[in-house]
Chain length 307, copies 2
Amino acid sequence: METPMFKKLALIGLGLIGSSISHIVRKNNLVENISGAAQSEKTRDIALELGLVDEVHSDPAEAVVDADLVILCVPVGANEAIAERIAPNLAKGAILTDVGSVKRDVINLVQPHVPAGVHFIPGHPIAGTEQSGPEAGFAELFEGRWCILTPEESVDAESIEKLKQFWVGCGSFVDIMDARHHDLVLAITSHLPHLIAYNIVGTADDLETVTQSEVIKYSAGGFRDFTRLAASDPIMWRDVCLHNKDAILEMLGRFSEDLASLQRAVRWSDGDALFDLFTRTRNVRKTIIEAGQDISRPDFGRHNSPE
Amino acid sequence: METPMFKKLALIGLGLIGSSISHIVRKNNLVENISGAAQSEKTRDIALELGLVDEVHSDPAEAVVDADLVILCVPVGANEAIAERIAPNLAKGAILTDVGSVKRDVINLVQPHVPAGVHFIPGHPIAGTEQSGPEAGFAELFEGRWCILTPEESVDAESIEKLKQFWVGCGSFVDIMDARHHDLVLAITSHLPHLIAYNIVGTADDLETVTQSEVIKYSAGGFRDFTRLAASDPIMWRDVCLHNKDAILEMLGRFSEDLASLQRAVRWSDGDALFDLFTRTRNVRKTIIEAGQDISRPDFGRHNSPE
């Protein structure tokens, strides 16, 4: 039993990410106490009931008192108001971080509220499922996944190292990256895939010639895989789109160009062009499996549950 | 132990689908004997070694002799030449079917070669994984999945019923559908999702600002889910595009229109439009799970294997 790294962790927001952090820090004894804040009374009740937190508050400013680690686990668009609200109560020397999928805008909105002596180190654990809420969390969510930190140059190196070790303690690998580059990388690896998934499910929903029930029944042909992403939290994804607009528009533009070219190959029955694209993309999957970010076992939608 | 439904099954093509059919018909004692045909010597050797077939041939015309059930398990584009080749050897009263993801074009290309007295009933089991080849098959592939038959009006009802019972014996549900409607349904539930997946993986592969290694490392943010579909067999998917062109172009057109509209909502920071789309699509997943075509357990890429 090592000594906990932090005395008091404040989790602002107790959804999938907040509750998963609670599970893993309790399991690995990373903090002494956890206080939590959530807007919804139901979430606060569940958090107490599940033992996710030792104390729970509706006001985030109350939750952060005496905390030496504060993690904002809310949709990106909520960070600024919370930062403003908690600022007066942040303890000197505390580390303040977040888990949002956008970093440049979060820094621009949060940093001005951070008092001197508080170390603001934006973070993003690249892990998630399509489920939300305080009951969706589990201790293994971050295991073997990457967490990206995007501190400004002025931030204290010791605090960065400490937060890095915290995420390592949660089972993650950690990378340090420029915030703007993070937003570009995530636009292609996460934001564009979600937008595409939402879009195709919307297109299918609008058809007059194919019924909704047919789409459902025959979804095992591939459509099913998209509905998982398209079931993700709408507020979280709205905020991502609003706060990473430029990078997302850049990637959408490239995707649409490529799709127009693919459409042309279909229209002109250009079998060679189709075969070339379909062959080239095959290798990418192999590399992802080799990198441990997925497994090679075929997924046909009915794998056994791990319990 | 029931009496087998067929005396001799000829599997023309021994990839994922052909080998899976072999596993399940052996398990459920649906046929007495299996003959197989494959172009590649390696595939033929593996098929014998795994006991997928009792006899194996390079020439499909030899494999179909005395068979009362012949299933073409090859990419859509190969059906016509095989039909022409096997026609003289097809037994009177035999049922000839296929497993292709396109039906109208297959009928147009195969039907002219089918001799009188042979019952041609096009079929499509909507099941698959991203893996290919004779070692990829497994007995459970068709369990709980839909198989669509698209017989022309003139086809003998008794033979349709017999083939239907065969697929039920493989664990599938069976629907009878007009071929053209099948092609439209599959264009949205399967063909468009695959094209989109191939396209986004191609787009990511072409970026100059984000490295390939970054795309791989951070793929758990959503991109990963697309690489699975984009790892599917290139020849199979080239042929699907070439043979279901009209329906695919129709669905691609609708998808692109919707994507342009979504792009506009991002550009103009229209949070309400984004939220509405992201909320609407959430229900579709719920319905798919209720229909038994996927499970609700969150997938974060590292579920345990079923063994």
